[in-house]
């Protein structure tokens, strides 16, 4: 087991290197640092000197891979690749283009993100599974049929409408909670409640349908037929047999996104003014702060791969049939 996990971690390294090279190519090779500087300083009437100083301040004036003016180890270290890409591996995110410490920002901002994402996940899970079990219990009846149509309709609405509509209805018309903002401690709850509710409602359509299809797949199996022929009631079959076995795919589906919860939701956070990592990324994209975007790409990939490894471990824990090699 430990050997397997170790192997999985080793396998993650080439992927991270690949991602790193890809972002490096995107951000430094496709457009030279000079182009980026020109964009930031405004295209017209920008002197070469201004570009030089802008790049120097942010350390973009080094060569890409090999610095011929230095000698020894320094010729590799004094390059953009080492400074901006390689250092991500040791979690040195450096300074953003506007001069802020990215690592510090991430440390502060991941908790508000989690404060939205975790309740959303748990409440959403509870509601979606309840609905799905309800529809499966009444499968092939009009209740199920209408329920599925309703889910498809919910899925067909863009997340932006849920947010704008929810903000308008609850904050602006009913004045129940503030439209946006954030506070520390328990005060935060009144800012968090609306984004959580909206995210949960947004997820109901696809979530319920997904769990419903999982349950339906399970209900076809032989052991369910056996349970029924033993004379168990339909409800007991559903809860004790179908639900328990469907938990395996449900659980593994959750584990993979657990680490990514720290990254937060881009849209929700920026609409509600939550100072999480999602709004951090959006702000960076909108102000074209590429240093932050690069750091977030790396962090997101890392968390995703970590989630995959966790999934594998979770599989062996919940399903004794699976043996890891």
């Amino acid at each position: 087991m430990i050997k397997y996990i170790f192997k999985r971690f080793l396998y993650a390294i080439p992927i991270l290197i690949g991602v790193n090279l890809l972002t490096f190519t995107l951000f430094f090779v496709v457009n030279s640092p000079e182009d980026v500087a020109r964009l930031h300083l405004g295209n017209k009437r920008v002197t070469q000197e201004q570009i030089q100083t802008w790049n120097e301040e942010r350390g973009y004036n080094r060569p890409l891979f090999y610095n011929s003016s230095e000698s020894g180890l320094k010729s590799v270290q004094e390059t953009i690749f080492y400074e901006k890409s390689f250092k991500l591996f040791i979690f040195e995110f450096g300074l953003s283009d506007s001069g802020r410490d990215i690592k510090n920002d991430i440390k502060q901002r991941m908790w508000p993100s989690l404060a939205i994402a975790l309740p959303t996940l748990l409440v959403g899970l509870l509601i979606n599974i309840t609905f799905a079990l309800f529809f499966v219990f009444f499968r092939a009846t009009y209740i199920d049929y209408i329920g599925v149509i309703f889910c498809v309709a919910l899925m067909s609405i863009s997340s932006l409408f849920y947010i704008i509509g929810g903000q308008y209805l609850i904050s602006k018309l009913l004045h129940l909670v503030p439209i946006s903002g954030y506070a520390q401690g328990y005060e935060a709850i009144k800012f968090l409640i609306l984004p959580v509710i909206i995210s949960v409602i947004y997820g109901i359509g696809s979530g319920t349908r997904w769990y419903r299809s999982l349950f339906l797949e399970e209900i076809e199996k032989d052991y369910v037929k056996t349970a029924r022929s033993k004379g168990l009631s339909e409800a007991s079959v559903l809860f004790n047999h179908v639900f328990k076995n469907a938990l395996i795919p449900i659980l593994t589906g959750i584990v993979v996104i657990l680490p990514l919860l720290f990254m937060g939701s881009l849209i929700v956070e920026s609409f509600f003014g939550i100072p999480g990592l999602g709004s951090y990324t959006i702000d960076a994209i909108q102000s074209q702060d590429f240093a932050i975007v690069r750091a977030m790409v790396f962090l997101g990939t890392l968390l995703y791969i970590f989630g995959l490894i966790l999934t594998d471990i979770a599989y062996t824990l919940v399903d004794p049939r699976v043996r890891l090699k």
Binding site: L266, Q286, T301
Partner: protein, 458 residues
Amino acid sequence: MFIFLLTDIFFYFIILTLIVYTAYVLKTPDIRETWAYVFRNKTGILSIVVLSFFVLIALVDSIHIKNKFYDEKTKEYIYNSEIKSLLDIVLMPMHYNSEKSYSAPFSSHLYSKETVKQGSNSEIRVYPDLLYKGNHNKFSDDKAYNISITLIISFIKSFFICFLIYMLIFYRTLFKNYFNFFLSIKKNNTLCFTIFLIVFISISIYDLSLQYYVLGTDKVGVDVLYKSIKSIRTGILIGTLTTIVMLPFAIFLGIFAGYVGGFVDDIIQYIYTTLNSIPSVLLIASAILMLQVYMANNPLDFENIYERADLRLFFLCMILGLTSWTGLCRLLRGESMKLREVDYVQASKTFGLSKLSIIIRHIIPNIMHIVIITVVLDFSALVLAEAVLSYVNIGVDPTTFSWGNMINAARLEMSREPVVWWSLFAAFLFMFILVLFANLFSDVVRDAFDPRANKNYE
């Protein structure tokens, strides 16, 4: 003179692919039977008709022309720099004139008061009348009465047009006898009803839009209905072009990895795992940001704003395609690995068929159902993604008509007092209809093509 923008050409190509595929389906009995299930299904035929209507609008909007006009000074014909689509010409009454600012749907005046001089030195604050529409009622001065008469007339009109369409569809029975003709209309009631509904809605909206702004006007006085209709092309294009871009990669690499295996398999697996590991929004954001930098630094490469916006749309599709081919590729790899071991493939191998002909004859036809299901499923997700990306400013060009841009603008309108709700409502309505029917369609297609789908419960 006809102008072919880059996305136009690709869109024609998509339509051509659709036609070729239809011909292929008609020729192949088993696939024809599978599609017949979709067409016999009530939800299936309903969504097919609605989606075809949207595609038709997008197609009409993809035929671009430049106007020629006679210049008095040089005594020559010169081309107008403005590019119009065929749809613009059809919808001329909607966008030919524009008002000053916001006006509510069916309103006869602007949405906000303005100071108007009255007489020599007295000023009053009034809602100024609209200049072009809303006050020229055709039949009666009473607005409700006027609207209902317009609706009744368009109802009668659509009856005649639908009858013509039905005659076209059921022309075979029409020549046999009239009784059979009406019988076949009755037999295909979902189809006929959907067609009637679409024709009625489009005719009545068109008739009404000659007299009113049906969905109001936006900040600079442009008809919101016109903007929403123009956005259809962007939505459809992002949904279809992206898939067309990614399909060759996904199919080729998926089969290659699955069927050939070994070292090739490892490399292809590595590529798609790497791409798949990056959260897709961030990958799209990085690529689009770099494109923005490139476009800002090389303004000379792009002749005019139309080409610039068009190129950005095209690149957006390319980038979305780049991030979405990995899922399909993985599925196809697994399926081809399974197929490699199947008896009939092994048999053809023993008969000495080359690898290429095995792939063409046996593998590709047997993975097509996965491709079709994925393409149809992805469509609605892509249309929704466009709106979100435009909100983050990494979507289509701000000058392109798109629902994402409309929603983006609507954020400010929702926070002003009194609220301007119709832009958001229009974007919501159009997007909802398109995505809803795409979702319904994908459900039916999945039922028809997925061998694992449990048809009993659906």
